[in-house]
Amino acid sequence: MAKRAGGTPTILPDGFDPGYLRQLELLRLRSRRAFLGARHGGHVSLKKGHGIEFSDYRKYELGDNPRHIDWGVYGRSDRLYIKRFQEEQSLPLLIVIDGSASMRVTTDSKKWERTKALALSIAYVALIQHDTVRICIPGVFYSSAYEGPRAIYRIARDLEEQPQGEQSRLSSGIQQGLSRVRFPGVAVFISDFLFPIAEIEKNLNLFRAKNLDTSVLHILGKLDQDPYQGVSDAVLVDSETNQELGIALDTGTRQEYQYRLIQHTRVTQELVHSLRFGYAIYYAEEDFRSFVLEHLPQIGLLR
């Protein structure tokens, strides 16, 4: 537990015990490409300069520090070359959370709780490595950069306080959030993707256009998998639009729904892979800690 600036205590979600935090501290945020960072950090940057990892040689020019001359090369070739290294900088992490009503449906509270837990876990891994973290809930919340491990409490508090977003404003919200990114880096997009494939593609292309190393976390709640709740006949109400649909939830409808859900998930996954994004599906009923510790390293988001 930590104290807010205003004195209000902020509590990390259930499951964030010291043991889990220690396990997260052993992980690192991973990017498939090098990015420019804002400051020194633990990730190889595109910026050439001082570092550990050799980059290339450059002819010595006036003004260069003679200490960078590779005297071995000079001895063999009688020419002056300067040794260049890739600088290690912090890695910007952007976590985009679909905060629309479908993610926060009141009859399935675990879905939103687990979404926040996933975001916090990834953010904590980044913060512990002194990477900068930004949180974006499209249309609702665009945070400034969080830095340092203790920022995890602020993130938790900010996520807790955000209102529900709107599905219709998801794309524009993502666009607005991405426009604030000055240094491309790693992006994580968490959503249930319960909207048309075309719209999914449109949103994902925004990440691609921004040249972000993007990983997609597809979260499905219990209601997404079984919306019947033991009812045979009911009027289904869309949490996003309040649209009603009267339908007999008999065996045929249920089988049809299951088929549609599997198809939609498969197409979404194929789309993500085609964009060379990382993809992992998470069912909200499962333990999020094992998902973070085991599955996210597998898709290359953590290591």
């Binding site: 009503a101 479908s102 993610m103 449906v105 009141t106 009859t107 399935d108 879905k111 249930d192 319960l194 909207f195 048309p196 709640g221 209601l223 997404d224 919306p227 019947y228 709740q229 033991g230 009812v231 045979s232 006949d233 009911a234 009027v235 289904l236 109400v237 869309d238 949490s239 996003e240 639009t241 649209q243 009603e244 649909l245 009267g246 339908i247 007999a248 939830l249 008999d250 065996t251 045929g252 409808t253 049809e256 729904y257 549609r260 859900l261 939609h264």
Partner: protein, 616 residues
């Protein structure tokens, strides 16, 4: 062939109402349950195809429930099937007069009722076998004999069991009542004679009436009245009135019998017999002298020429005198004859000495004279002049010619008593217990008290009443008689004469009675009384020894006069008027019930299947 009709067609309007409610409930059930889900996105894809119709089980369930409602409404509407084979009511008129014996020699011994039964059975046999019957009798009241509809053989069997009742009947009222029920396609009455009256009902054309003995002239001589008086020889004088409902001279004899033996085993001893010749419509009175008092009597009328005179069953009359025999146990050190009580003819006194009393376990109503037992009996008792040493009642003081200071004139025990003439010689002053009240007080103390001890009446006098001097000492004699009467509870000594099935109101404290055949009648009709089925002696049942008698006789002016005829218009039968009986409706009710249970079971089964499917 069957036709469908409804007893309450108005109830059919309930069906659209109930069906509407059911449909609305299904519609509302489908609409009312709102399920908030994350997104309709995938369901909309499903909906793009034609929406999957409701499952066949759900539809079947709706159909079953609709059918159930329909059945309930049909039941309420009184659905029944008309049959071509009509339901017929057979009404057998079985009053007292139907026991009349046929006058002809060939048919001697056959009663009118047997002819009625024969005619009814022939009627039943003449009909188709699929006809169903309800059998009714008219006397003493209209009553249905069968619980379920009867086939022709069972109807004939039921008719054979019908007996004459000692009562009148009202056939016209019975037919009218049945006609108003509108339950029968035909109502067929069988009676001894044509009855007076008309049937004021539009459907009277369905009523048929068969008159038996229409070619005969029935005769009857009836005992119409019995009166008694005390003759000059202190014995009873009976006057019996006879009426001849004949068209020729009737030769009969009248016998007066004394009833002896117990009520369970009656025997009859002939006292007097007189022949009498009666002209048509003549009423004659016969006198019988020197009949013993206290006797229970039966007066019997017999024909001396059975081939010419047929006499109905109202040939018997029963007679009990005003007071039945009542007994006291006199316990006195004096000789019985010295007490003078034997002069009181209305009561019997059994005399025992105090020693005999102490030895034996006597039960009854006691009169203790100059003696009081140490343990008082738990029965009504009179204590006259108890000795000063008696442990109860007596204060121990005596007084000679005391002045009377108080007399309770309002008490029944002192009624008809001129207390001014009451002259007491010597008294043992009494100590009045709490359960008693003083009736006579003197300046020395109480001289007479009475009260109810453990439910039994007790009178104690501190002065001597015996010997009973009768008219020589009227004041004390009246007091003595009043005491005897009061202790007996002023029981109603009935000489009432009732008719069979007439309401007999029982005296207070008596709630049942037994007739001479041993049949017990308990008080009924909200405590109003009892109705005895046939003539005879009737003994009221009470806890005490007092068991008054009543006589039940069987003379009905209208029933006894079989010659009086009147015509009614016998309507033509119209059998083409199908009607359902109450039984029809009742049967269908059972079928509906079974079907309803079946449908509800199916509905429940489908509900469970549906539930499991949804949960699965």
């Amino acid at each position: 062939m069957f036709g469908v009709s409804f007893l309450n067609p108005l109830a059919l309007i309930l069906f659209p109402l109930a069906a509407g409610i059911l449909i609305y409930s299904y519609f509302k059930r489908a609409r009312s349950k709102q399920l908030l889900i994350p997104s309709l996105f995938l369901f909309e894809q499903i909906q793009n195809k034609p929406l999957k119709p409701q499952s066949i089980k759900l539809s079947l369930r709706f159909f079953l429930e609709l059918l159930t409602i329909l059945l309930i409404v049909l039941f309420l509407a009184g659905l029944f099937l008309d049959r071509d084979s009509p339901r017929i009511a057979i009404v057998i008129d079985n009053p007292l007069s139907s026991a009349a014996v046929a006058p002809s020699t060939q048919e001697a011994g056959r009663t009118a009722l047997s002819e009625i039964q024969l005619s009814a059975k022939e009627f039943i046999n003449s009909l188709n076998k699929d006809v169903r019957f309800d059998i009714f009798t008219t006397s003493p009241v209209l009553q249905k004999l069968n619980q379920r509809e009867l086939t022709p053989p069972s109807a004939i069997s039921e008719i054979d069991r019908i007996k004459t009742e000692w009562a009148q009947s009202d056939l016209m009222e019975a037919l009218t009542h049945l006609s108003n029920l509108n339950l029968y396609s035909e109502i067929k009455g069988f009676s001894l004679s044509k009855r007076t009256g008309s049937i004021s009902n539009n459907s009277s054309e369905r009523i048929g009436l068969t008159s038996i003995y229409s070619d005969y002239r029935l005769e009857n001589v009836a005992i119409t009245d019995i009166r008694s008086s005390l003759g000059s020889d202190s014995l009873l004088r009976l006057e019996v009135a006879l009426s001849a409902y004949t068209d020729k001279t009737a030769e009969v004899e009248l016998e007066v019998q004394e009833v002896v033996g117990s009520e369970e085993n009656l025997n009859f001893k002939t006292l007097q017999l007189k022949p009498v010749s009666l002209n048509p419509n003549q009423t004659q009175s016969l006198s019988f002298d020197s009949i013993p008092t206290n006797a229970r009597l039966r007066v019997l009328l017999r024909t001396t020429n059975p081939e010419q005179n047929a006499i109905t069953l109202d040939d018997t009359a029963w007679f009990v005198q005003e007071r039945p025999e009542l007994s006291f146990i006199l316990v006195s050190p004096e000789q019985a004859r010295d007490t003078g009580l034997e002069d009181i003819s209305r009561f019997n006194f059994r005399s025992v000495s105090p020693q005999e009393y102490e030895q034996g376990e006597l039960e009854g109503i006691f009169l203790f004279h100059r003696y009081v037992p140490e343990i008082l009996p738990e029965s009504s008792a009179i204590y006259i002049a108890p000795p000063n040493t008696a442990p109860h009642f007596v204060s121990g003081r005596t007084a000679s010619s005391p002045k009377i200071t108080f007399v309770n004139q309002n008490h029944q025990l002192l009624q008809y008593l001129n207390s001014q003439l009451l002259d007491l010689k010597n008294i043992s002053t009494l100590r009045t217990p709490t359960w008693a009240e003083d009736l006579v007080k003197t300046e020395s103390g109480s001289g007479l008290f009475a009260g109810s001890r453990q439910g039994q009446r007790v009178v104690v006098t501190g002065f001597e009443l015996l010997p009973f001097l009768g008219e020589e000492d009227p004041v004390l004699s009246i007091l003595t008689l009043n005491m005897l009467n009061w202790v007996l509870g002023e029981a109603t000594f009935a000489n009432d004469s009732f008719r069979p099935f007439e309401l007999i109101r029982l005296p207070e404290g008596i709630d049942s009675a037994r007739d001479h055949t041993g049949r017990t009648y308990s008080i009924s009709e909200n405590g109003a009384g009892i109705r005895v089925r046939e003539p005879g002696l009737l003994m009221y049942q009470s806890q005490s020894e007092i068991r008054p008698l009543a006589a039940v006789n069987a003379f009905y002016p209208t029933e006894s006069n079989l010659l009086v005829r009147s015509n009614i218009i016998i309507p033509k039968l119209n059998s083409n008027l199908p009607r359902a009986s109450q039984r029809d409706r009742s049967d269908w009710w059972h079928y509906f019930l079974y079907l309803l249970l079946l449908l509800l079971s199916l509905d429940l089964l489908l509900f469970e299947l549906r539930k499991r499917e949804v949960q699965g």
